[in-house]
Symmetry: C2
Subunit: 405 residues, 2 copies
Amino acid sequence: MAKASWQGTNLPRVGGFNRAVVLDAIRQHGEVSRVELARRTGLTAQTMSNIVRALIDDGLVTENGHAPSTGGKRRVLLKVVPDAYSAVGLHLDPERITGVLLDLAGGVRMRSRRRVPDDTSPEAVGAALARTFHQLVRRSGIADGRVLGVGLAVPGPLDAANRRVLGPPNLAGWADVPLADIVEGRAGLPVVMDNDATAAAIGERWTGRADRAGSFVYVYLGSGVGIGVVLGDQVHRGVSNNAGEIGHVHSGGGRECHCGRKGCLEAYCSMRAIVADWRAATREEPNGEPVAATYESLCRSAADGDATATRVLRVAATRLGQALASVVSVLDVDRVVLGGPALRHVAELVRARVAKVVDAQVWAPKVRPVRVETALIGDDAGAVGAASLVLDHAYSPRLTTLLGS
Amino acid sequence: MAKASWQGTNLPRVGGFNRAVVLDAIRQHGEVSRVELARRTGLTAQTMSNIVRALIDDGLVTENGHAPSTGGKRRVLLKVVPDAYSAVGLHLDPERITGVLLDLAGGVRMRSRRRVPDDTSPEAVGAALARTFHQLVRRSGIADGRVLGVGLAVPGPLDAANRRVLGPPNLAGWADVPLADIVEGRAGLPVVMDNDATAAAIGERWTGRADRAGSFVYVYLGSGVGIGVVLGDQVHRGVSNNAGEIGHVHSGGGRECHCGRKGCLEAYCSMRAIVADWRAATREEPNGEPVAATYESLCRSAADGDATATRVLRVAATRLGQALASVVSVLDVDRVVLGGPALRHVAELVRARVAKVVDAQVWAPKVRPVRVETALIGDDAGAVGAASLVLDHAYSPRLTTLLGS
């Protein structure tokens, strides 16, 4: 029998949801009293007291001194126990694997980087990912039972239902790879997987505290371009978990894209495309260096004031801004966050140009000024986001808790 | 004190939410038993029994015979009482005012059309809207207390917080008009206002029964182009209630738009733009006829097999399809619904072309085949949508009921 489009809710579900709401509020607001928590979450003092006691019993929250006196009894402050649990995040980029160990408070405890092996077969790459995981756990000295799981951030598109990577054009030779299962088999812990842009958006919310609440579009600029969509404090994943696949939308031009079609955004805004533009402008031949390395040279030149490098980046940022203006118009969000490794050295240059284009092209600016900001997390956005997937899955309030799924 | 980003919930809120869930399920699924309702909504038999009794006491639901026997006791069927309440919807288009009276079951009881008066001042147009409202209520013979309110669908953008129309480029001379208050003053009933595309999307869900649940993009094709975004059975309105303003996103071309910028989607896909293309192709001079009338002649010609008219419409539909491919890619929805008066005579021609372009340009087609359909509601989509705003506001399950706002 088909389910109704809305499911009702009940007391056990409400209990689980409210517990997640309280933990989320403590995490986001730092040190906070029970009274303040009750006010912030709309829950009664009695409900709050019960939930906090359970969170303390479970070791997730601890009492941490007293608030300054405001006349009456000084209030006990609560905070999350960072060491209670942690998660490992692994980010697979076409050229690099990055791993982090993230604690419950969103702090990065360990970090590890390695090149993607020359043998780029799924098994070899899966083994390299698992090695990064084991190395992080070993070096951290954290007891096995305290690591909740592994988050995996990969370039989209994904077949999320079957935990498979569908052959992103940036990873040659990969088609329909069961990567989550490969890594899970080698790591011995549950693996959750998402595309890198969505993971980075969750990471920004998880580690970024209260100022990353609400609705925003997170633009992940790595080898390619993807966006993570956060609406009303919930990540929007879409019917096939591929929301935010903006890299291959038609951007108005006719340039050939590595995906085989023409005019895609990544034909103009990927690292590869920008490097090609730079080589054309400077009449330099490719020198066999990896794309990311040449791209970084280009960005250093722009940061040092080189006019050609600056112009090439501005042209790409203009096209990115046009695509984002459409996204902002359709979603009606008032915040765009730019993040990812492609911004290194040039974050403000790119931000300023995107902001200018968005401001000029978004309709109804009077009722909807749009802020364009750079991310709180830098180069490691993908890996931190991957680890956040695990913590978010375990601890964030979610409507499916309340309504069933 | 700032609220936490998530609010907790409690029993009274759960009660109100579950009641709306049950009414919505009865409305969407037609005649249905308590047992089936409990299964569909995930609520217990006891909770269901209590909620249904209250809905019957309030006159919103009635018992309506028995289900065929399946061996045991025959189950009593429930259905919504259509006459319990109704709402008036008014749609203001640049050339026409359409009004409908909609009953609680989503049936259109009365319909009224008039031309926008020659005096297009906000007061004169507001008076014409109010006349349409009074005429509908008078002709229907429905008791005043049974009309819940007035819904108003207007071209965006809006300043929703202040209930003002911000001067859509299709309504010359309108800038920052408090239209909802003007109509409310003259109608004597509460007025809710939204842009026409969002209203039409809600109408499609309200009157369309279960096959319009879930997530979809509704494309409203009137004088201009707007979209309504429905995600997980909730209308997505955005931070300023202007989500779906797609008419003035950059579509890749350089043609001047009536909004003063270049390359907007409406510079190619509005009725005015398509009529101009037709005149250019047939070398006909403008004849002083309203744009909508010429547009309708064009569509009749295309329906009769005229090659030029068909080609002009296909070119516009191609550009529309490209814009929608981007929206589908970003949101990851698997359904696009095309509706509105601009489809009259040519719905299948436009649908087929849009479907072809979307299919070719949306990434990850393997995990996300996208259906492109025409709307269940035809010409009156704006007005039916407007009335649905009122019913939806009063009776649909919404998360703000559960979580506070």
